[in-house]
Point group: C2
Chain length 565, copies 2
């Protein structure tokens, strides 16, 4: 019922008028109808303007005619669409009086309330097996001239009047609200997803013994190896960083909504661009991080007993859904290029974008590892990196335009730089938000001390993993990078005794984790054995397949050998 209570309910709440609410809200909250949100088509997901489903207004009957004009226009992927739901909010191009007004939303009943059979003109089905989300029927929907009354278009912001005339929304950006809301919510969810993996891998690493450090001594805990710490600790820090950045984004969204109610929309462009980029940045980083954590458990990370296979399946679609990641980063890049142009012109920038005004000749003055614990230094390093990546993109595009290239071609010819610029921008945003959140949070001093270490560690780790770009910015030298490595290694030792407590603090109960490796009590091996013994194949010592296939096969081979003798 997740999509019913989120996407479906929210679409109705946010996009319908009060009069429409009277007709639909009670049915939704009482669950007398079940709905979903159907936007993605077989041929298009993220590129909204490419959608093909049409809703053509028929003035004579005051109805919309919903239709899938091509194979690729079929709705494809919406959750619960194929088998479960009775209704859907369907995104379709509104056509009235011969003019195409682009994507609008329509309430469409799909199945009979009597026997759940699909209604005339409607073909529904499941799109087949896929990776993850296996408990959801991701469905398809093909519409053949399906008629709905005029008042089933979501009319809060734009209207089609009985005579077919169209009223545009007061602010075209209003339709962005739910996208921005969902994307900023995702950042926190992504952090929580990563915290699950970090908890499992860290707890198991505090139990598992491997190899030897000093010949003759007992096997050390695998968590005492630097290479293992390098896998675990950056992910613990990243989970904290994303959860706290998600909180901040949520706050930013709420203040924007309050402003928007007063007719003030100026915060939207940056919020929209930041939430798009962060959605991509955090999902990409987390997908990689979960893989590192899974593999840090050795072979057992592949067993369903670790819970990693399920976490991976449930998590990885986030990189393409709610806006494909490359497209999201390019959306952020558009805002960055606008800001770069404003900076060139000396126009006002938003406070966060003022990093574009930093002096490119500024140099880092760190001379010992400790200097890289200073958050001002670290933030300045990230700011210079972002400045360099943004200005490089801007200059490369300008150069292509001067050569006479078309705007779209110039943009496309610099995706390499634009993606790097967006990533650097988002990374700076996360380091900055994480730092601010840890300073603002109410907690004991000793708690803040270790949280500060995580902030520093997250920042240092990011420098080491992207050192080329930090060097390119000119702010940091090769010799200073050695200091960064040294400081990074020192912090590993500070985090080590706190690692288990830091993941316990995510407060994920055994029942929620569902992982034998990640058990709170650490009793891993005995429970792996118990878990395996309960596997379906182990009900019988001799599997049925033996009698069916193996026995005849072995006997036949035996006979053949004997006849040859």
């Amino acid at each position: 019922m997740h999509l019913h209570t989120t996407m479906f309910l929210q679409s109705v709440s946010f996009q319908m008028t009060e009069e429409q609410h009277k007709k639909w809200l009670a049915a939704i909250t009482n669950y007398t109808i079940i709905g979903t949100y159907a936007q993605t088509e077989l041929g298009h997901g993220t590129h909204l303007r490419g959608m093909e489903t049409t809703a053509t207004y028929d003035t004579s009957t005051q109805e919309f005619v919903l239709h899938s004009p091509t194979l690729t226009s079929m709705k494809w992927w919406p959750g619960n669409l194929g088998k479960l739901v009775t209704h859907a909010i369907v995104a379709a191009r509104l056509i009235t009086r011969g003019k195409d007004y682009g994507i609008h939303l329509f309430m469409v009943q799909l199945r009979s309330m009597k026997d759940h059979s699909s209604l005339p003109g409607i073909e529904l089905g499941d799109i087949g097996p896929k990776l993850g989300y296996s408990n959801v029927d991701n469905g398809f929907l093909r519409l053949e001239y399906v008629r709905i009354p005029r008042d089933q278009m979501c009319m809060k912001f734009s209207q089609v009047h009985p005579d077919g005339t169209y009223s545009a929304p007061p602010h075209s950006k209003l339709s962005y609200n739910s996208m921005v809301h969902i994307r900023s919510g995702l950042v926190k969810r992504v952090g929580i997803g990563l915290s699950k993996g970090a908890t499992i891998a860290t707890r198991y690493s505090a139990v598992r013994r491997q190899s030897e450090l000093i010949p003759g001594r007992p096997e050390p805990l695998i968590m005492d190896y630097q290479s293992q710490q390098m896998k675990l600790f950056p992910q613990i820090a990243t989970a904290y960083a994303f959860i706290l950045t998600g909180f901040q984004l949520g706050q930013d969204f709420l203040s924007y909504i309050a402003e928007a109610k007063e007719g003030e929309f100026s915060a939207l462009p940056e919020l929209h661009s930041t939430s798009a980029g962060l959605k991509a940045f955090t999902t990409e980083s987390t997908k990689g991080g979960l893989e590192v954590l899974r593999m840090s458990c050795g072979g057992h990370g592949f067993s369903s007993a670790s819970a990693f296979p399920e976490i991976y399946g449930a998590f990885s679609p986030t990189c393409t859904f709610e806006g494909e990641n490359t497209v999201m980063l390019l959306q952020t890049a558009r805002f960055l290029m606008k800001s770069a142009r404003q900076a060139m012109k000396g126009a006002k920038l938003t406070p966060f974008m003022s990093y574009l005004l930093l002096n490119q000749h500024e140099r880092c003055r760190a001379s010992k590892p400790d200097d890289f614990l200073d958050m001002d230094t670290l933030l300045l390093a990230y700011s210079h990196r972002a400045r360099r990546m943004v200005t490089t993109s801007f200059r490369c595009i300008e150069a292509d335009l001067k050569e006479g290239k078309n705007n779209g071609i110039a943009w496309n010819n610099n995706h390499l730089h634009l993606l790097a610029a967006s990533t650097a921008h988002c990374h700076l945003f996360v380091v900055d938000s994480f730092n601010k959140a840890v300073e603002a949070i109410q907690c004991e001093d000793r708690t803040r001390r270790i949280l500060r270490v995580l902030v520093q560690f997250y920042a240092l780790d990011g420098i080491l993993k992207n050192k080329g770009e930090f060097l390119e910015s000119g702010y940091i030298t090769v010799d200073q990078l050695d200091l960064v490595s040294k400081q990074f290694i020192s912090l590993l030792a500070v985090i080590r005794p706190n690692a288990v407590a830091l993941v316990d603090a995510f407060d994920l109960r055994d029942l929620k984790l569902g992982s034998v490796l990640g058990r709170y009590d650490g009793n891993v091996y005995e429970n792996l054995y118990k878990w395996a013994k309960s596997a379906p194949l182990n009900k019988k010592d001799v599997a049925d397949a033996y009698h069916l296939h193996l026995k005849p096969f072995l006997e036949e081979n035996q006979r053949r050998v004997q006849s040859r003798l």
Copy 2:
């Protein structure tokens, strides 16, 4: 039967005497017994010396007693072990006359040839569901004082005589052969795995249209976006690189085997170290590459219709099996540190390792993008990077030792550097092998021309993705990196018209790919629809779950609403 015909048969062939062959080989090749290879235990995989299963020789009966002394000593993960096989080659610590001689191999019958029931003292089972390899029963085996005759120890290289005395193998490295063989074989297999993903994603990108480049024009093929080319083309080049590097490793192994037969083992240390590192380097790179390719297909990459979910499941265990990747890279690092010490002393290095003798003050003289098409320049850049990473590791370890740290601690304290050094070394090896192979291959000139482009492109892509290390080496400047980017972007345009032909040349038939997205005929959308319609859930319009769950739920809600009115 894959493990029967590979690991089981090979163990018997390579590790048993001719007399033992008489007893076992025919049964294996006639399939009158079915076997596997059981090494990994619940508590240990890669760390051989940590294995706990014992095989204690009993002089009185001239038998070995195989035993699992602890819970963690259970064999765990071997394929086909739980339900299918009748026999296994079991790795166990040999104990005779009170002394532990470490891991040796033993032939153990596990199940009755009459009714397949597990024999007394033997507990067998499946270890439960996991990611990938779902058609294989990965099993567990617990041994309780199981007796086998003396001649069931694999005795080709070491022997236990009737009185319990032990003869050591002539060369302790001999047991490395099959590991080296398997790992070098893996590199090519890994390349082929990547070629599957590259074929699917490239073909689909030649069909799929998205968004717009120039306003008002039709949607371009997604392959015409630079960001898409950045996803696809490096993976095409990498698949070629790994397949051809795998060939070379195979050749190196064969020449070593020929030398070893003459008693010449000097090539083993480098071959062993290279094959270990390359196993890690290529599997890690390919795992990441397959994910990039899957996501380059948008949402449809998650559908089983793409074949990516299956490819991912089948592929990803390679990063931990046959030697966990971090351990493998550290193994290579050991060889690199030895070489660095030799270089310091002025002792002779192997031809490949002579990059350690490069002058660290040498600077790249490229001044225009074209200069980075020169393979000597590119190889020198990779050599300097490897030199810098190896010498940095060496110096850091020496510094820790001088501070009085224990050798194992100093080593552990520099995993960060050691892993980077091994990776840089393996990367250089691949660029070098790929280049040599393309020059040596017999083909038409125009074929070699595009293959050369792939070599250059692979090398340029690697520089951009690791630019920090190339800058650190001092050989390349920030300004020259801009030339590398420019040249990289130019080659995208050269590869673009050849991309489909390059993946077609992998010669993977539709039946083998099993991917609707990767169909040779490009008829994707129609077949996605057909494929979905054949999904099990689509047999009926109204699913059984409706009658069972949804109908009563909806009706109950309806009643509740009505009673409230």
